[in-house]
């Protein structure tokens, strides 16, 4: 029986290759229950691939993932009941309005109709999507798509939230709203994993950090340990061995 002592997420030796390209190479991650975990890494490091394999949206070539001790690939249905997911760039039921999406998914999950109606109302209001009652999701802006995706992830009150780039393309006001919601969720004992390349968000929100580069974990643990004495950004640049460019060439770039 899974208990709170089990980590919210544990991946063991996750590996995924697309053709010749090894996107994720032997990833071991442990996200303690109740933690707010930030997964950072440069573009193409394998964050999205790792998260997709961890929640059961992409079959790994090898390795396993457990959510509160439940194996994602063996007890799929039980694992899915525990998590809320916001993947990056996936389609939605595009020809429903925001309210219809939440109502549909809530009823499909078997939540009581009254509960679905109440939660839908509150989520739309808090995320300021209630003004777009007549707008189909296909007509939403990128930021609105993120917000309806977050609402979908929250709807069934999961124990673990897995959010891929939740702040991308979201305006500053909405981003602040989302941060507050996530903090409240974590404060009430929920576990959160976000991926991001905005270091300041991760530094403000997260208590644990994992750094991925070239499909491998290069550092992981409590924020303070990973960050060391400097800022997270400095530690990140150091860890992934990146060199900030932009000083050479481009001599013609004068208006």
């Amino acid at each position: 029986m899974p208990t709170h002592r089990e980590p919210a997420l544990r991946t063991t030796g996750l590996r995924k290759a697309f053709g010749d390209h090894l996107a994720v190479d032997d990833i071991h991650l442990t996200v303690p229950a109740g933690s707010f975990y930030g997964l950072v890494g440069p573009n193409g490091a394998g964050k999205t691939t790792t998260l997709a394999m961890a929640v059961g949206l992409l079959r790994p070539d090898s390795g396993s993932a457990e959510i509160f001790g439940v194996d994602v690939w063996r007890d799929t249905v039980q694992a899915k009941g525990l998590i809320g997911v916001l993947p990056d760039g996936n389609a939605m039921p595009e020809r429903l309005t925001g309210r219809e999406v939440l109502t549909y998914l809530g009823l499909l999950r078997g939540l009581p109709p009254a509960v679905v109606a109440e939660r839908t109302d509150e989520l739309l209001q808090v995320l300021e999507l209630d003004v777009a009652e007549r707008t189909l999701v296909i007509e939403y802006s990128t930021g609105m798509r993120k917000k309806i995706g977050l609402a979908v992830a929250l709807l069934h009150a999961p124990r673990l939230l897995v959010l891929d780039e939740p702040f991308e393309a979201v305006d500053p006001v909405s981003a602040a709203t989302i941060r507050t919601i996530l903090r409240r969720f974590a404060g009430n004992g929920g576990s959160v994993i976000i991926s991001s390349h905005v270091m300041s968000f991760v530094e403000q929100l997260c208590d644990h950090v994992g750094v991925i580069s070239d499909g491998r974990v290069v550092a992981a643990g409590p924020l303070a340990d990973v960050r060391g004495a400097g800022t997270l950004e400095e530690a990140f640049v150091d860890l992934v061995g990146a060199r900030t460019g932009g000083t050479e060439g481009l001599a013609w770039l004068t208006p």
């Binding site: 697309f18 053709g19 010749d20 929640v55 059961g56 949206l57 992409l58 079959r59 249905v77 039980q78 899915k80 009941g81 998590i83 997911v85 993947p87 760039g89 996936n90 389609a91 939605m92 039921p93 595009e94 020809r95 429903l96 309005t97 219809e100 109502t103 549909y104 998914l105 009823l107 499909l108 999950r109 078997g110 109709p113 009652e133 007549r134 189909l136 999701v137 296909i138 007509e139 798509r145 979908v152």
Partner: protein, 605 residues
């Protein structure tokens, strides 16, 4: 003087052609390459056949060229927007006038296989001109080039018009009705022609095919040289007009926001019903049907084809198809719905992440499809049978209707999860609302699979009807329920076990390692053979084989267009059996050759 950064017209055209060729080179992988080679081979066969027409039956050249023109007109409508490789949106920020960009895009439009194949076909014009001496050859050459440009321009203007004006249900349905009627005319258009007297109206039909843009070249060749020059000049003027119209349409398209094929709405939508499982999934699916212009267009295509085809035959007083309009609508409606999961794109992730939702989703889609197609098919069937007055048709209609409806509901979800054709996610589609970005050739083969599989589910009912009409009706209901239930069950089991693979097929495309060889790996002659078999094998098997078989058994006197029934009685049965055998052989060849290749390849691996 243009902006200093803008290249001149010739240079832009060159860049555009290079870009188009680069896009084509990069897409020439796997099935795409195979489709291209097969398409080009087929096209060249037709092109040389056109030249042969100019040599052997010159009187029929104008009508043959009219067929090429109709290909350019209806091609883009059939395949949903003409698969624009170079989208005008890519160039909207170039500092150049719309006319300049349109001219450059036009140049790019010629850098593809279709214009080249058409140009080969148009070489029939100088060949035809040979009869009129060297001047005829010269005029024929000029006319070939001008006609090619005209055809490509007409095609582009139609794509632009669709892209710009299909913004509501009415226009989407109108495009669907035009498409369905055109398909019906292609298959049975001979009937009204025959009814109008065929051969003795040669004068008006000859004039008609010369008045079409495709016939101007022939008209110029036949005319005295001064008039010939005037015709060519007028044609050039038409091209200039089309180019102006096209650049205007492009400029409007680029600045009009793409809405992904969403019709306008007023008011807050009705709340979803309070239900769970399959019923709530069906409610979602019904809203999608009503709010997606692509689906509305496809549905209108299916229904108009089903209505127009029997009516065309009525013009030669053959009422035999009228009772079956509803059944045709079911099969066409199923063929247009076989890529349900592909058209929704990666939204599948939500079904996969909701515990136990796969079953509800499959059952909901079946239910919604039945709600959409069922009533229309029922009304068409009852009305058609009543109006035709063919009382022998009642058991056939009443038995096959439930069998096909159930079969359709089962087959579409099964194919949707086993033969998914990935397209562009709905929210990422470009300025053309009727294009799903899916590989049209693959979608077409999926439709052919439906044409085979759905009627096959009604075979038991048909067999029993032959023995005992009313027992056949009961059989139809039973097999219909069984097909919908059983095939649906296989479909959701498959979705539960392979949903992740389907999702990632849509997200990342097919896995790069060729786990099993595609048709692209077949030797060229087999590849062409397999494609041709898939394309025409239905012809001997169904209309020329099984249909006359049924009619002979029933003792129906109409001969319609079934070859066997026109022959002396002693030859009728052998012909029918021969036709069925040919059809089965072609399907067998088309299925077995790739399978043999794949099994030999897997033992080698």
């Amino acid at each position: 003087m243009a902006h200093p950064l803008t290249p001149g017209p010739a240079a832009s055209a060159q860049h555009m052609i290079r870009m188009r060729l680069a896009l084509m080179r990069n897409s020439l992988r796997g099935d795409n390459a195979s489709n291209l080679y097969t398409g080009v081979s087929l096209g060249l066969v037709l092109a040389f056949a056109t030249i042969a027409v100019a040599v052997l039956w010159p009187a029929h050249l104008p009508v043959t060229l009219a067929v090429w023109l109709s290909g350019w007109i209806f091609g883009p409508i059939f395949i949903g927007g003409g698969g624009e490789a170079l989208r005008p949106e890519y160039f909207s920020m170039l500092p150049a006038t719309p006319g300049r960009i349109a001219a450059a895009l036009l140049a790019g439009a010629f850098a593809g296989p279709a214009p080249v194949v058409t140009l080969v076909a148009l070489m029939s014009l100088p060949v035809y001109g040979w009869r009129f001496g060297p001047a005829g050859v010269l005029i024929g050459l000029a006319a070939a080039v001008i006609t090619l440009i005209t055809m490509v321009m007409i095609s582009r203007v139609i794509v632009a018009l669709i892209g710009l004006f299909v913004r509501s249900r009415v226009t989407a349905a109108a495009v669907g009705v035009v498409t369905g009627t055109a398909v019906a005319l292609c298959s049975n258009g001979w009937a009204p022609v025959a009814a109008l007297g065929g051969a003795d109206t040669a004068a008006w039909s000859q004039l008609f095919v010369r008045v079409l843009p495709s016939g101007w070249g022939v008209a110029a060749i036949e005319a005295p040289w001064l008039l010939a020059l005037a015709i060519l000049a007028a044609n050039a003027a038409v091209i200039a007009l089309l180019l102006a119209a096209w650049s205007g349409l492009l400029a409007r398209r680029v600045v009009s926001a793409a809405r992904g094929g969403v019709p306008p709405r007023r008011g807050t939508p009705r709340p979803l019903p309070v239900a769970a499982g399959a019923r709530i999934a069906a409610a979602k699916e019904l809203r999608t049907w009503w709010r997606d212009l692509v689906r509305i267009q496809l549905l209108a295509t299916a229904l108009s084809y089903a209505v127009v085809t029997p009516l065309l035959l009525v013009t030669v007083d053959a009422w035999v198809m009228v009772p079956f309009a509803g059944l045709i609508a079911i099969v066409m409606g199923a063929a247009n719905s076989a890529n349900l999961y592909g058209s929704d794109g990666t939204a599948l992730w939500l079904t996969l992440m909701t515990p136990g939702a796969e079953r509800a989703d499959v059952r909901g889609r079946q239910l919604a499809w039945l709600v959409i197609v069922g009533p229309a098919a029922l009304v068409l069937s009852l009305a058609g049978t009543l109006i035709s007055g063919l009382s022998w048709a009642w058991p056939w209609v009443l038995g096959l209707l439930p069998a096909l409806l159930g079969g359709g509901a089962g087959v579409i979800v099964l194919l949707a999860v086993t033969s998914l054709v990935p397209g562009t996610d709905p929210h990422k589609r470009g300025g053309n609302p009727l294009s799903t970005g899916a590989d049209e050739t693959a979608e077409t083969s999926l439709a052919w699979l439906v044409f085979l599989a759905v009627p096959a589910t009604a075979l038991p009912a048909a067999g029993v009807i032959l023995l005992n009409p009313w027992a056949g009706v009961v059989t139809g209901v039973l097999t219909g329920v069984l097909s919908a239930w059983g095939l649906g069950k296989i479909a959701y089991r498959r979705l539960e076990s392979h949903g992740i693979e389907l999702l990632n097929l849509m997200k990342y495309g097919p896995p790069p390692e060729p786990a099993r060889p595609t048709t692209a790996d077949l030797p060229t002659h087999h590849r062409i053979g397999v494609t041709i078999s898939y394309l025409i094998a239905w012809l001997p098997l169904f209309p020329q084989g099984l249909a006359p078989l049924v009619m002979k058994i029933l003792g129906v006197e109409e001969r319609v267009w079934f070859l066997a029934l026109y022959l002396p009685p002693i030859w009728q049965w052998p012909t029918i059996i021969f036709m069925i055998a040919i059809g089965l052989l072609m399907y067998g060849y088309a299925v077995l050759i790739p399978m043999r290749l794949s099994s030999s390849a897997s033992t080698n691996r």
